[in-house]
């Protein structure tokens, strides 16, 4: 944070804009100074005079001179972001909140389940796990998307498939003639995976409906509440536990989350909305 003001962003230059899909773009940002975050923590990106929105960086937390956010066009701020071409200056505040519990993943068979743009925050986790491969048993990454055009990070998928400890499975709701992998909603992949559930921890990020059905399925498969982690998306404004917009029961998602263990939140009202 610049000076002492939690509301004042530091500046970052947009170095590059990458088209990931018809609705998703990535923005490579160069902050005015080194920027540290833990995987799963989020930042606020401010467009000057326009608005601010929260994003979990999709880049590696081990890189500190640049960071990347991957943004789906869903609202006013994201629409304006999609009009950027590179060279612009944005503001960033953060990092905020509690990220993925890396230490809980060590020595485990990690199941990573992503839906749609939920791959973005998970890519940062995958980068982190890739760098620490020796610490985990294996990583199974299941990714579901609407259609082949909306499948993001193709090159990274291919890279991950090279690693012995990584298994990658993908599915789309609607396939076309080019598609050679699974077809159906993200949870169909769970029938195909080969993990030792007793020694596994699952991390799920995606649209609410996808997270809801994934959790149901994981519980049926034998995962306990304590072994499922979710990254929650809520309306946010301040990101520092004051404005109240992100409240979910007694939690401030911005501060206590965004990553929660399922048993922490399962009784809170309307968690899938």
């Amino acid at each position: 944070m610049k000076g002492d003001n939690i509301y004042e962003p530091i500046k970052a230059k947009v170095l590059e804009v990458i088209d990931e899909s018809p609705t998703i773009k990535s923005f490579v940002l160069e902050p005015e100074r080194q920027f540290y975050f833990k995987t799963g923590q989020f930042i606020e990106v401010a467009l000057d005079g326009i608005g601010e929105a929260p994003f979990t960086p999709s880049s590696s937390p081990l890189v500190t001179n640049q960071l990347e956010v991957t943004v789906m066009k869903t609202g006013y701020v994201t629409e304006k972001m999609h009009q950027m071409k590179g060279g612009e200056t944005v503001g960033i505040r953060g990092p905020f909140g509690r990220g993925y519990p890396l230490e809980k993943l060590y020595d485990k068979e990690v199941l990573v389940l992503g839906g749609g743009c939920g791959f973005a925050p998970l890519r940062s986790l995958l980068y982190n796990l890739e760098a620490e491969q020796e610490k985990v048993q294996k990583v199974t990454f299941c990714y579901g998307s609407k259609n082949p055009q909306e499948c993001i990070y193709e090159p990274y998928i291919n890279e991950l498939r090279q690693y012995k400890k990584f298994e990658v499975m993908r599915t789309v709701d609607e396939a076309d003639e080019t598609w050679t992998e699974e077809v159906g909603v993200a949870t169909v992949l769970l029938d195909k995976i080969d993990v030792n559930i007793d020694n596994s921890v699952a991390v799920v990020v995606g649209p609410p409906i996808m997270m809801k059905f994934s959790v149901q399925k994981l519980l049926e498969m034998g995962y306990t509440d304590q072994k499922i982690y979710l990254s929650m998306e809520k309306n946010m404004s301040c990101a520092v536990g004051k404005c109240g917009h992100c409240m979910m029961g007694e939690y401030f998602v911005c501060k206590d989350g965004p990553v929660f263990r399922y048993d922490e939140i399962k009784d809170k009202p309307d968690i899938w909305k």
């Binding site: 509301y7 929105a53 869903t74 404004s237 917009h245």
Partner: protein, 353 residues
């Protein structure tokens, strides 16, 4: 060797001495003279008549004699001094003078607790709030009368200042009694002593202040004896069914008056101003879309859920997370509601089920 019990007694005696010594008295006329001097160095705010009601105004020489003493309560809560309707939180306004805020009822002073806990939280100190707190001298007031909906004592708050005040003020006949509670308060007393002479009240006079306090407290206890206390209210709300919220929200129009006027509602919205500045606006979970996300999901889409949310927040969730209570029993939300919704009727109905 000093045992813990000894130390306890010493502290107790010291406290007691303090209580005896920290009273000062002054005639109303001399007090007004002192205020007129202090206006040169401070911005002084105090409750003055506002038609049928009263509210805080910046005091000048002409309005000093209009100040209302010991009669609750200003229409707006104390929080508006620290969380104004709108303010730039990056390019902050610099004030040339510190503020003295007078006439603050105990409920409003206690309402600041939750703000201090949230806004001065170690991890993220809110700089604008902190500065405003530091630059304000708070003069609390003993409530000598009560309003129809006052129910502070139900939630453990006395009708005389308990916390966050630098001085307490009590007017009896034509004499003003001041009691100091902090270093800031003492400094102000010293300043007043440079302008005029302060007296030491007699034991009888002090006893009279204490008696009045107890009388008003008793009055409130009697008046509100059927209302469930803070904790019980939380339990009742937590285990309630949807029906009662649907029933009581029938006349709610989502205007947010209850939250705006509430001394403990802390929510706001940040808006961007060119130059990477941020303007903070008071906000309320009663407005549609408060929790809506860009992708469209909205946990508080239905009106009755928004209506219930405010009570869940105050009596169930905030108590799980914070020490400070999130309802002070000031009754303003009852008076402000254009739909005539009375939360205490709702709680009594829950309690009697």
């Amino acid at each position: 060797m000093l045992t813990q019990i000894h130390i306890f007694f010493i502290l107790l005696c010291e406290n007691y001495n303090n209580i005896m010594n920290n009273y000062h008295s002054i005639s109303r006329q001399e007090w007004e003279k002192a205020l007129s001097h202090l206006i040169n160095n401070y911005h002084i705010y105090a409750p003055v008549p506002w038609g049928e009601t009263q509210d805080y105004e910046r005091i000048d020489d002409d309005s000093i004699s209009d100040i209302i003493y010991n009669r609750p309560k200003p229409a707006t809560p104390l929080k508006t001094f620290f969380l104004p309707i709108r303010e730039n939180v990056v390019n902050t306004e610099k004030s040339d003078k510190k503020r003295i805020i007078m006439g603050i009822p105990s409920c409003d002073l206690s309402g600041i607790n939750i703000f201090d806990e949230m806004y001065l939280d170690d991890a993220f100190v809110d700089p604008t709030y902190k500065k405003k707190r530091e630059d304000s001298i708070l003069i609390g007031t003993d409530c000598h009368t009560t309003q129809e909906n006052c129910h502070c004592t139900t939630y453990g708050i006395k009708p005389y200042p308990m916390k966050n005040h630098d001085l307490t003020l009590s007017l009896s006949g034509d004499t003003i009694y001041l009691q100091t509670h902090s270093a800031k308060g003492e400094t102000l007393i010293e300043e007043i002593e440079k302008i005029t002479t302060l007296q030491d009240p007699t034991e009888n006079e002090i006893q009279e202040i204490v008696d009045t306090r107890e009388k008003v407290e008793e009055e409130l206890n009697t008046k509100n004896r059927d209302l469930p206390n803070y904790r019980v209210t939380g339990d009742l709300i937590n285990s309630s069914e949807d029906e009662i919220w649907k029933k009581y929200s029938e006349t709610c129009v989502s205007c947010g008056a209850c939250a705006t006027i509430c001394p403990t509602c802390t929510c706001f919205l940040l808006l961007e101003k060119p130059g990477f500045e941020k303007v903070r606006h008071l906000d309320a979970c009663q407005y549609p879309g408060f929790e809506k996300v860009a992708a469209g999901e909205d946990p508080l889409e239905e009106l009755y859920k928004r209506f219930r949310n405010r009570y869940m927040c105050k009596y169930v969730w905030k108590p799980k997370k914070f020490e400070s209570i999130a309802c002070t029993g000031c009754g303003r939300c009852i008076e402000a509601c254009i739909g005539n919704i009375n939360k205490n009727e709702l709680f009594l109905e829950l309690a009697n089920k």
